[in-house]
Subunit: 374 residues, 2 copies
């Protein structure tokens, strides 16, 4: 059996180059996880996801507990078999989506009751039930159930919310079923308050986790404020465990967060953008639906080696989106995920070479150029 572990291989300033090992294989960090909310990366086959370079997928407890249900996934052999993804799988706890999607929520010390956004059916999520669900799903990295403190929050609200999350974290730890190669992450809360973030890290460290989620960011506070919170939080977090900045973010967010010591990311941006016509390039984003691309024989990004850029013109992608052809979202999602994975690969190489500063400067300069001219 393989133990769940994190090996830190190299640092460059705050940036870290590492590897996470699970019962379903390893992934290199810094890592961007493929977002497979409902046990599928939207508009992508598993082979296409793998081709982008993604090594780890993240699924959503809230969505899967409603459809098809954790018990059904378990009866079909777990998430790896269900969705044909043999690599490591992370699941979030469901707490964030209960707060953002579900109806008629009621939060108590015990947990949260809510109505499904799909059919209005009533459900309860407690720390214990979240652990049970994530175990049934057979997730390699289980996230503790927490409350994602809204932004902005007063110090009083933030403190109360964080301290309940820490009590829930202890209940998660107690309820988590230990298995070789499976890990449990606690989630740091505390809003934008340094003392609360410190208290949260201290609480989680005392309980003992296999990694740390950094929660309550990317909720509207802006990049500058997010970086400020990371600047005072990350030096407090133990260095021997992986750190996962939940729900982040833009390419620029990721570069800045890697510099500040983050190892893992997830975000719906590249897949959602791919379905709405927005493409990432090393010179910033483009909207492929714009008329300027209608006759352009060049690829989305001439530096890109993805199938969309190797085989198709901007004009073809434009045509597909104009005609609402499914292949448009398929190709652009693949390109965007490929762009994100190439970014992570370049970040890992920069850390290995001790060249993070130079990489970050070149990245920012390229992005500032804006799209190629017609």
């Amino acid at each position: 059996m393989t133990s769940f572990s994190f090996s830190l291989q190299k640092t460059d300033g705050g940036a870290r180059r590492g590897r996470v090992t699970t019962a379903h294989g390893t992934f290199e960090t810094p890592a961007f996880m493929a977002t497979a909310t409902a046990a599928t990366v939207k508009a992508m086959t598993v082979d296409a996801v793998k081709d982008t370079g993604a090594e780890v997928a993240i699924c959503n407890t809230y969505h899967l507990m409603l459809r098809p249900s954790a018990e059904r996934v378990a009866s079909l052999g777990g998430l790896h078999k269900f969705m044909n993804w043999s690599g490591p799988i992370v699941t979030d706890s469901g707490g964030f989506q209960v707060m953002s999607l579900a109806g008629l929520r009621k939060l108590t010390e015990e947990g949260v009751t809510f109505r499904s956004h799909v059919d209005g059916s009533k459900h309860e999520l407690t720390p214990e039930r979240s652990m049970e669900i994530q175990c049934l799903l057979d997730s390699n990295i289980t996230m503790a159930l927490d409350e994602c403190t809204p932004h902005p929050a007063t110090h009083e609200v933030a403190a109360e919310s964080m301290r309940r999350s820490m009590r829930w974290a202890q209940r998660c730890r107690d309820a988590f079923q230990k298995r070789e190669g499976y890990g449990l992450f606690g989630i740091v809360q505390g809003s934008t308050y340094e003392a609360l973030r410190a208290e949260s890290v201290q609480a989680l460290t005392s309980i003992g986790f296999d990694g740390f989620g950094i929660g309550g960011l990317a909720v509207g506070e802006g990049q500058e404020e997010m970086f400020r919170v990371l600047d005072f939080t990350m030096p407090l977090v133990p260095t021997d465990k992986p750190r996962y900045l939940m729900g982040v973010g833009t390419p620029s967010d990721i570069v800045g967060s890697v510099i500040r010591g983050i190892d893992m990311f997830d975000c719906v941006m590249p897949t959602r953008a791919g379905r709405t016509g927005r493409g990432y390039t090393h010179r910033g984003t483009i909207n492929i639906k714009n008329a300027r691309h209608a006759g352009d024989a060049r690829p989305i990004d001439e530096r890109c080696t993805c199938p969309a850029c190797q085989n198709y013109s901007r004009a073809y992608l434009h045509h597909l989106f104009r005609c609402e052809e499914i292949l448009g979202p398929m190709l652009l999602t693949q390109h965007n995920l490929h762009y994100y994975q190439m970014l992570m690969k370049a970040l890992r190489a920069a850390i290995e070479a001790g060249a993070m500063d130079a990489f970050a400067a070149a990245f920012a300069a390229d992005q500032a150029k804006g799209d190629i001219s017609q």
Copy 2:
């Protein structure tokens, strides 16, 4: 340079085993063409289309003349490059879609004027313009512009319509730009009237074409009537050219039509069904959205070797369709096209083995079984 040609390799009763050669490669017959209406097989990558076994694609003149326009496709290097399909491409003439989709149609001896169903813009399609568009698209097999006679039609209407189509066929032949490895097919009309079908075949044979479309069928007349028309029409058609039954059909339609001497087929059924949850199996069709599949760990069809059947349960497909995930239509479309191509492969093997009768009987017996029980 490669000449456009058809080689007839084996016959078994009326059924024919052959090969069509074009400037962009060959395809084996009987063939089912991948329907790439707007220069994309809906919900499929080109690699996935090739993996189904498809060797020839068919695109739609009407859709492409409106978006992105034939001139734009030509400026981008033609359809093969535009859509990244290096194999043979067939285009229809646009006549059928003008009649079924466009607004404010006016048909005269000269041609047809209509308004785009997309933006209301006014367009004209004549035999000469249809030839020009299909040349700009760089289609390997150009279809003559005809009028698809509605069903039912009186003898008088059918005769008038067919004779105009024959005058247009002569104009298409005159306007068609001859190129090595490119062919022009005339289209047999005449509704359900034997004498009119015979007159049409005679007219087209006199003009001289590289192949024959059989038009005006699969328009609501039913399988029995369609087979009756084929029974008296096909013996009249020259044997040294490929015969293409336009817009057909169900698996059972295809088996019956191959027996009657058809070499080429196209139909939106497998792709459209794949997007709406209907899957083909050797025991008939299923609706994957039905609750009975929600917990079924078995594949769509245990005889099938497609990626959907090799890697996923009916339960997973059901989940994808229930959640309206794009991967559902992607996988089911791939399965359905794979099913059709496996059928064509089996038909070709049966003709080679002189076993068409036995094959058709076994096919019908399997289909009659109905889906596997729970």
